[in-house]
Protein backbone atom coordinates (compact mmCIF):
# COMPACT_ATOMS: atom_id res chain seq x y z
CA UNK A 1 0.00 0.00 0.00
CA UNK A 2 1.44 3.31 -0.93
CA UNK A 3 1.68 5.58 2.07
CA UNK A 4 2.30 8.75 0.15
CA UNK A 5 -1.22 8.76 -1.27
CA UNK A 6 -2.77 9.20 2.17
CA UNK A 7 -3.08 12.62 3.75
CA UNK A 8 -0.90 12.57 6.85
CA UNK A 9 -0.47 14.70 9.88
CA UNK A 10 3.11 15.98 9.49
CA UNK A 11 4.05 15.57 13.15
CA UNK A 12 2.51 12.19 14.04
CA UNK A 13 2.24 10.51 10.60
CA UNK A 14 -1.29 9.51 11.56
CA UNK A 15 -3.78 9.58 8.67
CA UNK A 16 -6.07 12.60 8.51
CA UNK A 17 -9.44 13.41 7.02
CA UNK A 18 -11.70 10.70 5.62
CA UNK A 19 -8.87 8.17 5.73
CA UNK A 20 -8.60 8.51 9.50
CA UNK A 21 -12.37 8.32 9.87
CA UNK A 22 -12.67 5.11 7.84
CA UNK A 23 -9.65 3.56 9.52
CA UNK A 24 -10.88 4.34 13.03
CA UNK A 25 -14.35 2.99 12.37
CA UNK A 26 -13.16 -0.15 10.57
CA UNK A 27 -10.47 -0.97 13.12
CA UNK A 28 -10.57 -3.60 15.85
CA UNK A 29 -11.66 -3.10 19.44
CA UNK A 30 -12.32 0.62 19.60
CA UNK A 31 -13.49 3.27 17.20
CA UNK A 32 -12.63 6.26 19.38
CA UNK A 33 -8.83 6.17 19.42
CA UNK A 34 -7.01 8.40 21.88
CA UNK A 35 -10.28 9.17 23.65
CA UNK A 36 -10.58 7.93 27.25
CA UNK A 37 -13.64 5.69 27.65
CA UNK A 38 -15.23 8.02 30.20
CA UNK A 39 -15.08 10.91 27.78
CA UNK A 40 -16.49 8.87 24.88
CA UNK A 41 -19.33 7.64 27.11
CA UNK A 42 -20.06 11.18 28.29
CA UNK A 43 -20.26 12.35 24.68
CA UNK A 44 -22.69 9.54 23.84
CA UNK A 45 -24.79 10.40 26.90
CA UNK A 46 -24.80 14.05 25.84
CA UNK A 47 -25.94 13.00 22.36
CA UNK A 48 -28.90 11.17 23.88
CA UNK A 49 -29.60 14.18 26.11
CA UNK A 50 -29.55 16.35 22.99
CA UNK A 51 -32.44 14.31 21.63
CA UNK A 52 -34.39 14.65 24.89
CA UNK A 53 -34.07 18.43 24.91
CA UNK A 54 -34.84 18.50 21.18
CA UNK A 55 -38.08 16.65 21.86
CA UNK A 56 -39.02 19.24 24.49
CA UNK A 57 -38.21 22.16 22.21
CA UNK A 58 -40.00 20.48 19.30
CA UNK A 59 -43.15 19.88 21.33
CA UNK A 60 -42.98 23.53 22.38
CA UNK A 61 -42.66 24.53 18.72
CA UNK A 62 -45.60 22.32 17.80
CA UNK A 63 -48.00 23.68 20.43
CA UNK A 64 -46.94 27.25 19.76
CA UNK A 65 -47.50 26.89 16.02
CA UNK A 66 -50.82 25.09 16.34
CA UNK A 67 -52.56 27.19 19.00
CA UNK A 68 -55.22 29.67 17.98
CA UNK A 69 -54.67 31.81 21.08
CA UNK A 70 -52.07 34.57 21.27
CA UNK A 71 -48.72 33.33 22.65
CA UNK A 72 -47.69 35.39 25.72
CA UNK A 73 -44.89 37.82 24.88
CA UNK A 74 -41.82 36.51 26.77
CA UNK A 75 -40.21 39.95 26.58
CA UNK A 76 -43.00 41.31 28.83
CA UNK A 77 -43.60 38.18 30.89
CA UNK A 78 -39.97 38.02 32.00
CA UNK A 79 -39.46 41.77 32.46
CA UNK A 80 -38.41 43.10 35.85
CA UNK A 81 -39.41 46.42 37.33
CA UNK A 82 -36.12 48.21 37.97
CA UNK A 83 -35.63 51.90 38.65
CA UNK A 84 -39.22 52.86 37.88
CA UNK A 85 -39.49 51.09 34.51
CA UNK A 86 -39.84 47.60 33.09
CA UNK A 87 -36.57 46.24 31.72
CA UNK A 88 -37.43 43.45 29.26
CA UNK A 89 -36.00 39.98 29.83
CA UNK A 90 -33.33 41.33 32.18
CA UNK A 91 -33.38 38.39 34.60
CA UNK A 92 -32.94 35.91 31.75
CA UNK A 93 -30.05 37.97 30.36
CA UNK A 94 -28.30 37.95 33.74
CA UNK A 95 -28.88 34.18 34.03
CA UNK A 96 -27.30 33.76 30.59
CA UNK A 97 -24.21 35.71 31.61
CA UNK A 98 -23.92 33.76 34.87
CA UNK A 99 -24.05 30.46 33.01
CA UNK A 100 -21.53 31.57 30.38
CA UNK A 101 -19.17 32.72 33.13
CA UNK A 102 -19.48 29.33 34.78
CA UNK A 103 -18.59 27.71 31.45
CA UNK A 104 -15.48 29.90 31.26
CA UNK A 105 -14.31 28.98 34.76
CA UNK A 106 -14.97 25.32 33.96
CA UNK A 107 -12.86 25.47 30.78
CA UNK A 108 -10.00 26.93 32.83
CA UNK A 109 -10.47 24.27 35.52
CA UNK A 110 -9.96 21.55 32.88
CA UNK A 111 -6.78 23.25 31.71
CA UNK A 112 -5.33 23.52 35.23
CA UNK A 113 -6.43 19.95 35.94
CA UNK A 114 -4.20 18.64 33.17
CA UNK A 115 -1.39 20.77 34.63
CA UNK A 116 -2.05 18.94 37.92
CA UNK A 117 -2.53 22.21 39.74
CA UNK A 118 -4.85 20.91 42.44
CA UNK A 119 -5.62 24.09 44.30
CA UNK A 120 -6.45 26.22 41.24
CA UNK A 121 -8.47 23.40 39.62
CA UNK A 122 -10.58 22.82 42.73
CA UNK A 123 -11.09 26.56 43.27
CA UNK A 124 -12.25 27.04 39.69
CA UNK A 125 -14.59 24.04 39.93
CA UNK A 126 -16.11 25.31 43.16
CA UNK A 127 -16.51 28.75 41.57
CA UNK A 128 -18.27 27.04 38.64
CA UNK A 129 -20.54 25.24 41.11
CA UNK A 130 -21.28 28.53 42.92
CA UNK A 131 -22.24 30.22 39.64
CA UNK A 132 -24.41 27.20 38.78
CA UNK A 133 -26.13 27.41 42.16
CA UNK A 134 -26.69 31.15 41.56
CA UNK A 135 -28.33 30.27 38.25
CA UNK A 136 -30.66 27.75 39.92
CA UNK A 137 -31.47 30.32 42.60
CA UNK A 138 -32.45 32.89 39.98
CA UNK A 139 -34.54 30.26 38.25
CA UNK A 140 -36.34 29.54 41.53
CA UNK A 141 -37.01 33.29 41.83
CA UNK A 142 -38.36 33.34 38.27
CA UNK A 143 -40.63 30.35 38.91
CA UNK A 144 -41.93 31.91 42.14
CA UNK A 145 -42.65 35.19 40.36
CA UNK A 146 -44.54 33.48 37.53
CA UNK A 147 -46.49 31.19 39.86
CA UNK A 148 -47.63 34.13 42.02
CA UNK A 149 -48.68 35.89 38.82
CA UNK A 150 -50.94 32.95 38.07
CA UNK A 151 -49.00 30.85 35.57
CA UNK A 152 -50.01 27.20 35.78
CA UNK A 153 -49.29 24.24 33.51
CA UNK A 154 -52.90 24.48 32.30
CA UNK A 155 -53.24 28.23 31.92
CA UNK A 156 -52.00 31.77 32.47
CA UNK A 157 -53.42 35.30 32.47
CA UNK A 158 -51.87 36.35 29.13
CA UNK A 159 -52.85 33.90 26.41
CA UNK A 160 -52.17 30.41 25.13
CA UNK A 161 -52.56 27.95 28.02
CA UNK A 162 -49.71 25.78 26.70
CA UNK A 163 -47.21 28.50 27.70
CA UNK A 164 -47.11 27.30 31.31
CA UNK A 165 -46.67 23.61 30.62
CA UNK A 166 -43.84 24.11 28.12
CA UNK A 167 -42.17 26.70 30.34
CA UNK A 168 -42.18 24.51 33.45
CA UNK A 169 -41.17 21.40 31.52
CA UNK A 170 -38.26 22.92 29.58
CA UNK A 171 -36.76 25.19 32.24
CA UNK A 172 -37.47 22.62 34.95
CA UNK A 173 -35.62 19.90 33.12
CA UNK A 174 -32.73 22.25 32.39
CA UNK A 175 -32.63 23.42 36.02
CA UNK A 176 -32.50 19.78 37.13
CA UNK A 177 -29.49 19.28 34.86
CA UNK A 178 -27.77 22.33 36.37
CA UNK A 179 -28.48 21.07 39.89
CA UNK A 180 -27.05 17.63 39.12
CA UNK A 181 -24.03 19.36 37.55
CA UNK A 182 -23.45 21.42 40.71
CA UNK A 183 -23.48 18.25 42.85
CA UNK A 184 -21.19 16.47 40.37
CA UNK A 185 -18.78 19.45 40.40
CA UNK A 186 -18.59 19.56 44.19
CA UNK A 187 -17.86 15.81 44.39
CA UNK A 188 -15.09 16.01 41.79
CA UNK A 189 -13.62 19.22 43.26
CA UNK A 190 -13.35 17.47 46.64
CA UNK A 191 -11.51 14.57 44.98
CA UNK A 192 -9.15 17.01 43.24
CA UNK A 193 -8.39 18.76 46.54
CA UNK A 194 -7.76 15.45 48.29
CA UNK A 195 -5.28 14.49 45.57
CA UNK A 196 -7.23 11.41 44.44
CA UNK A 197 -6.12 11.86 40.84
CA UNK A 198 -2.44 12.23 41.69
CA UNK A 199 -2.37 8.85 43.48
CA UNK A 200 -4.98 7.28 41.16
CA UNK A 201 -7.20 6.48 44.13
CA UNK A 202 -10.06 4.19 43.12
CA UNK A 203 -13.56 5.61 42.96
CA UNK A 204 -15.96 4.43 45.70
CA UNK A 205 -18.62 3.60 43.13
CA UNK A 206 -16.77 2.54 39.97
CA UNK A 207 -13.60 1.09 41.60
CA UNK A 208 -11.67 2.54 38.68
CA UNK A 209 -8.46 4.48 39.02
CA UNK A 210 -9.11 8.20 39.38
CA UNK A 211 -7.54 10.34 36.66
CA UNK A 212 -7.60 14.03 35.84
CA UNK A 213 -9.62 13.17 32.72
CA UNK A 214 -12.71 13.12 34.95
CA UNK A 215 -12.33 16.91 35.25
CA UNK A 216 -12.65 17.19 31.48
CA UNK A 217 -15.60 14.75 31.46
CA UNK A 218 -17.33 16.82 34.16
CA UNK A 219 -16.53 19.88 32.08
CA UNK A 220 -18.20 18.33 29.03
CA UNK A 221 -21.40 17.85 31.01
CA UNK A 222 -21.24 21.39 32.35
CA UNK A 223 -20.62 22.97 28.92
CA UNK A 224 -23.53 20.93 27.59
CA UNK A 225 -25.83 22.49 30.20
CA UNK A 226 -24.66 25.90 28.97
CA UNK A 227 -25.16 24.76 25.37
CA UNK A 228 -28.77 23.71 26.01
CA UNK A 229 -29.40 27.09 27.63
CA UNK A 230 -28.21 28.80 24.42
CA UNK A 231 -31.02 27.02 22.53
CA UNK A 232 -33.65 27.58 25.25
CA UNK A 233 -32.70 31.28 25.41
CA UNK A 234 -33.04 31.62 21.63
CA UNK A 235 -36.20 29.63 21.08
CA UNK A 236 -38.19 30.08 24.28
CA UNK A 237 -37.23 33.54 25.52
CA UNK A 238 -36.26 35.49 22.40
CA UNK A 239 -38.42 34.00 19.63
Amino acid sequence: MSHSAIAEDKTTHAPRGWTSLVRDWSSDQRAFKDVPWGKAMMWIFLLSDTFIFSCFLLSYMTVRMSTLAQWPNPSEVFALHIGGRDVPLILIAIMTFVLISSSGTMALAVKYGYQRNRRVTATLMLLTAALGATFVGMQAFEWTKLITEGVRPWGNPWGAPQFGSTFFMITGFHGTHVTIGVIFLIIIARKVLRGDFDVERKGFFTSRKGRYEIVETTGLYWHFVDLVWVFIFAFFYLW
Partner: protein
Protein backbone atom coordinates in the same frame (compact mmCIF):
# COMPACT_ATOMS: atom_id res chain seq x y z
CA UNK B 1 6.39 -10.72 15.07
CA UNK B 2 4.50 -10.91 18.35
CA UNK B 3 7.25 -8.88 19.96
CA UNK B 4 6.92 -6.18 17.33
CA UNK B 5 3.17 -6.08 17.83
CA UNK B 6 3.52 -5.66 21.58
CA UNK B 7 6.00 -2.86 21.03
CA UNK B 8 3.64 -1.26 18.56
CA UNK B 9 0.75 -1.48 21.02
CA UNK B 10 2.83 0.09 23.75
CA UNK B 11 3.91 2.82 21.42
CA UNK B 12 0.30 3.53 20.53
CA UNK B 13 -0.70 3.64 24.15
CA UNK B 14 2.03 6.08 25.03
CA UNK B 15 1.08 8.18 22.05
CA UNK B 16 -2.57 7.93 23.07
CA UNK B 17 -1.95 9.21 26.57
CA UNK B 18 -0.20 12.24 25.20
CA UNK B 19 -2.69 12.94 22.49
CA UNK B 20 -5.84 12.90 24.58
CA UNK B 21 -4.77 15.32 27.26
CA UNK B 22 -6.15 18.54 25.89
CA UNK B 23 -3.60 21.27 26.52
CA UNK B 24 -4.26 24.64 24.99
CA UNK B 25 -2.99 28.14 25.77
CA UNK B 26 -5.11 30.04 28.28
CA UNK B 27 -5.57 32.91 25.82
CA UNK B 28 -7.90 30.93 23.58
CA UNK B 29 -10.30 30.19 26.46
CA UNK B 30 -10.36 33.83 27.53
CA UNK B 31 -10.96 34.95 23.95
CA UNK B 32 -13.87 32.57 23.48
CA UNK B 33 -15.26 33.55 26.87
CA UNK B 34 -15.20 37.20 25.81
CA UNK B 35 -16.77 36.40 22.44
CA UNK B 36 -19.59 34.49 24.14
CA UNK B 37 -20.28 37.54 26.30
CA UNK B 38 -20.39 39.78 23.24
CA UNK B 39 -22.67 37.39 21.34
CA UNK B 40 -25.01 37.05 24.33
CA UNK B 41 -25.20 40.82 24.63
CA UNK B 42 -26.02 40.99 20.91
CA UNK B 43 -28.83 38.47 21.22
CA UNK B 44 -30.20 40.34 24.25
CA UNK B 45 -30.18 43.57 22.24
CA UNK B 46 -32.28 41.85 19.56
CA UNK B 47 -35.05 41.76 22.14
CA UNK B 48 -34.18 45.04 23.87
CA UNK B 49 -34.47 47.08 20.66
CA UNK B 50 -37.67 45.24 19.64
CA UNK B 51 -36.39 44.05 16.27
CA UNK B 52 -39.21 42.30 14.42
CA UNK B 53 -39.86 39.97 11.53
CA UNK B 54 -37.26 38.07 9.56
CA UNK B 55 -34.45 40.30 10.86
CA UNK B 56 -35.27 39.25 14.44
CA UNK B 57 -35.47 35.54 13.65
CA UNK B 58 -32.34 35.44 11.51
CA UNK B 59 -30.29 37.36 14.11
CA UNK B 60 -31.53 35.08 16.93
CA UNK B 61 -30.54 32.01 14.91
CA UNK B 62 -27.19 33.51 13.86
CA UNK B 63 -26.09 34.39 17.40
CA UNK B 64 -27.41 31.04 18.69
CA UNK B 65 -25.44 29.03 16.13
CA UNK B 66 -22.26 31.05 16.69
CA UNK B 67 -22.48 30.62 20.46
CA UNK B 68 -23.24 26.90 20.22
CA UNK B 69 -20.39 26.42 17.74
CA UNK B 70 -17.84 28.20 19.95
CA UNK B 71 -18.88 26.24 23.04
CA UNK B 72 -18.72 22.86 21.28
CA UNK B 73 -15.55 23.57 19.28
CA UNK B 74 -13.38 25.21 21.93
CA UNK B 75 -14.80 24.70 25.43
CA UNK B 76 -15.74 21.08 24.70
CA UNK B 77 -12.52 20.60 22.66
CA UNK B 78 -14.36 19.18 19.66
CA UNK B 79 -12.05 21.08 17.29
CA UNK B 80 -9.11 18.96 18.46
CA UNK B 81 -10.83 15.58 18.54
CA UNK B 82 -10.47 12.89 15.88
CA UNK B 83 -12.92 12.86 13.00
CA UNK B 84 -14.30 9.48 14.14
CA UNK B 85 -15.67 11.10 17.31
CA UNK B 86 -16.65 14.40 15.68
CA UNK B 87 -18.86 12.72 13.09
CA UNK B 88 -20.31 10.20 15.57
CA UNK B 89 -21.52 13.03 17.81
CA UNK B 90 -22.27 15.91 15.45
CA UNK B 91 -23.98 14.15 12.51
CA UNK B 92 -26.93 12.48 14.35
CA UNK B 93 -28.37 15.79 15.68
CA UNK B 94 -28.72 16.96 12.06
CA UNK B 95 -31.56 14.43 11.75
CA UNK B 96 -33.50 16.56 14.24
CA UNK B 97 -34.07 18.96 11.34
CA UNK B 98 -36.14 16.24 9.66
CA UNK B 99 -38.20 16.03 12.84
CA UNK B 100 -38.60 19.82 12.78
CA UNK B 101 -39.92 19.65 9.21
CA UNK B 102 -42.37 16.87 10.12
CA UNK B 103 -43.71 18.70 13.16
CA UNK B 104 -44.03 21.96 11.20
CA UNK B 105 -46.30 20.20 8.70
CA UNK B 106 -48.20 18.52 11.53
CA UNK B 107 -48.78 21.72 13.50
CA UNK B 108 -49.81 23.64 10.39
CA UNK B 109 -52.41 20.96 9.77
CA UNK B 110 -53.59 21.11 13.40
CA UNK B 111 -53.79 24.90 13.21
CA UNK B 112 -55.90 24.83 10.04
CA UNK B 113 -58.18 22.15 11.50
CA UNK B 114 -58.66 24.14 14.70
CA UNK B 115 -59.36 27.29 12.77
CA UNK B 116 -61.95 25.40 10.72
CA UNK B 117 -63.80 23.98 13.75
CA UNK B 118 -63.22 26.45 16.58
CA UNK B 119 -62.41 29.64 14.72
CA UNK B 120 -65.96 30.43 13.62
CA UNK B 121 -66.86 33.98 14.56
CA UNK B 122 -63.26 35.11 14.88
Amino acid sequence: MAHVEVQHAQGQQAHGQQAHSQQHPIGIYLWIWGLLFVLSTCSYFVDYFHLQGMLRYSLILLFMILKAGLIVAVFMHMAWERLALIYAILVPPVLILVFVALMTLESDYTFLTREEFFGIGR
